[in-house]
Amino acid sequence: MIEAVGLTKRYGDKTAVYDLSFQVRPGAVTGFLGPNGSGKSTTMRMILGLDNPSAGHVTINGYPYRRLPNAARHVGALLDAKAVHGGRSARNHLLCLAQMSGIPARRVDEVLGVVGLHEVARKRSKGFSLGMGQRLGIAAALLGDPQVLLFDEPVNGLDPEGILWVRNLMKSLAAEGRTVFVSSHLMSEMALTADHLIVIGRGRLLADMSVKDFIAANSAGFARVRTPDTEPQAREKLSAALTEAGGHVLPEQDGALRVTGLPLPRISDIAHDNDVRLWELSPHQASLEEAYMRMTQSAVDYRSTTDQKAGLQQPLPPGALPPVPVPGQGQPGWYPPPPPQQGQPYAPAQAPAGTPAANPYAQPAGQPGQQAPQAPAAPAAPPANAPSADDLTKPEDAR
């Protein structure tokens, strides 16, 4: 259990982390997300007692890190895979860490086996690839068989096999009742691994909620509707009818329509009433990545722009069209429109039709809207619905 209260860190006049309060609970994988420079690593360093907070405090199992008796047996951390002396062999690196905490030397060989480095155990870590270094860092974190684990970007540089392994490792560690706190940029990875999310931007808390709530609160699912290509007038007709019925219609590049605000059956009914045939009517749930991008849009410090190559380009030959930019690049409005007030605009609220209404966790739709990004001041509240994280994701998988 990691608990931060009002955590603040200033470097000179720059505030890296401001008034951050959250809890990371045992038994679940908690993802820690934020754009580059948002203060993730600083927060992790403060949790581990490496940096002293300017204000506030953070405890692990009730103790500040530096007061924990035999800290390495309670907390394991992968901060930076390159934070090793390159001239030392993998085994000696782990051995000196083991000796520091009174861990028997045979445990070193065990964890080397766990991360799959036993064959290069006697090689100097200078020659390790990024992925091997990452494995060595994970081995160091696992060395003390700790209750609390922190991983900063654990899948950096790992091959697909390694990524799958880390994913399963995180889940199994959490299933054993440990606290697992993972930062990552890879949204697809987080969507698969994490049960709970803590999102920060510019050093402030943006969200502290389960993955499912986060997606629901921060992006609308939409329906894709395609009318026969041969009848453009049918498309116009349907589009007008859907708008009239209260839906929000966006044309897509390939001629399909992106509809939000109407449930699928209603769209079908409207099409039928208007005598329009449909080639496609499909539900699309927004991804974690989309939800994340929307939430952090305003909190991104380092943003790429389109490469203009001003004055360097050959004039286009007469008649040629300028190249069409890849969709999404440098276009602020690429992600779907913000969700309506009620959170989920269509189907998902109705999908769990068979669920007993008494289940308090089956109705998160309204809640996340309230406690979502606008309210960084209420970070202490989320624990109430946090337990649902695990169980909300399971039915999702089962569907």
């Binding site: 609970r25 924990l68 000696n92 000796q99 009174g102 009742g177 440990r178």
Partner: protein, 285 residues
């Protein structure tokens, strides 16, 4: 939505239990300085820079000592009752640079590579880590210097018997081996403290070489009469002159004598280590 409702109410108590959390089958021991010393010993012996710097140190001390010994023995020069131990001075003076380098690297290289963060996470008691480093390094430096100095001293005595060298007394042996080894090991420990304060290998090594040589060089250019006293003090308390006190062939007759250099270096190293302890407690790693 196959998961039924029942598990829900149970999760809360489970969490309460999980607060005390997962318990490792590996017994948790209470750690102390001894663990940190074992760890630092593993660290210092498992990097090549240790082997290189200490190897070069032994090579310099024994090599230069042997050459001076051979040259004097070959020339049939007469030492006129001087102690032959003093001939080891040049090798040790040059070798001190190796100890400075190793001392700085012991701490600063951890900061350079980022290893310090891994270390501090494994052992959040920063004072314990620094103490362990200082102890391990001091012992290694002391033992290596003692062995080299004793070896070259015995070689010199054996080689120069016929050149009018006197047989060193027990007190001279003690100063020429244990004394100078203590002094050099302390000098190395001072470098270790400076490395911990500066946290940058090249910077700390430069500072220490400056400390070693600057007083002598500066004193050389103090021609003015008004600076005579300063010049004298710089000469007498420069590290090379302090080292030569152990062989009683000091550049001057006033200034430190006997075991004074060890005391002086002990104080300086103590202050530097104290500063390193104090600073690292409050600093961000």
């Amino acid at each position: 939505m196959s998961t039924p409702q029942p598990p829900m109410p149970q999760t809360a108590p489970e969490w309460q239990a999980a607060e005390s959390g997962y318990t490792s089958p590996i017994p948790v021991v209470r750690t102390h300085l001894g663990h940190a010393i074992a760890s630092e010993w593993t660290k210092i012996r498992s990097v090549r820079s240790t082997m290189w710097t200490l190897g070069v140190f032994v090579l310099l001390v024994v090599g230069i000592g042997l050459m001076t010994g051979l040259v004097i023995a070959g020339q049939d020069a007469d030492l006129g009752g001087e102690s032959p131990l003093g001939l080891g001075f040049f090798g040790l003076l040059l070798g001190s640079m190796c100890l400075i380098t190793l001392g700085v690297l012991t701490t600063a290289s951890e900061y350079g590579t980022g290893m310090i963060r891994t270390t501090m996470v494994a052992c959040p008691s920063r004072a314990r880590v620094l103490a362990a480093k200082a102890i391990v390094f001091f012992l290694v430096a002391f033992v290596v210097t003692l062995v080299s100095a004793t070896l070259i001293g015995m070689l010199h005595v054996a080689m120069l018997e016929g050149n009018g060298a006197k047989d060193p007394s027990g007190g001279e042996w003690l100063k020429g081996t244990v004394g100078v080894s203590l002094y050099l090991a302390l000098l190395g420990t001072l470098s270790l403290a400076v490395g911990s304060l500066i946290r940058h290998s090249a910077g700390a090594i430069t500072i220490m070489i400056g400390v070693l040589l600057a007083p002598l060089v500066v004193a050389l250019f103090m021609f003015s009469d008004s600076l005579r006293d300063v010049q004298q003090a710089l000469f007498e308390y420069s590290i090379p002159n302090q080292m030569s006190v152990f062989y009683a062939n000091s550049l001057s007759e006033s200034g430190p004598s006997g075991w004074d250099p060890v005391l002086i270096m002990l104080c300086i190293t103590g202050v530097a280590l104290g500063a390193a302890f104090a600073v690292q407690e409050s600093r961000d790693v």
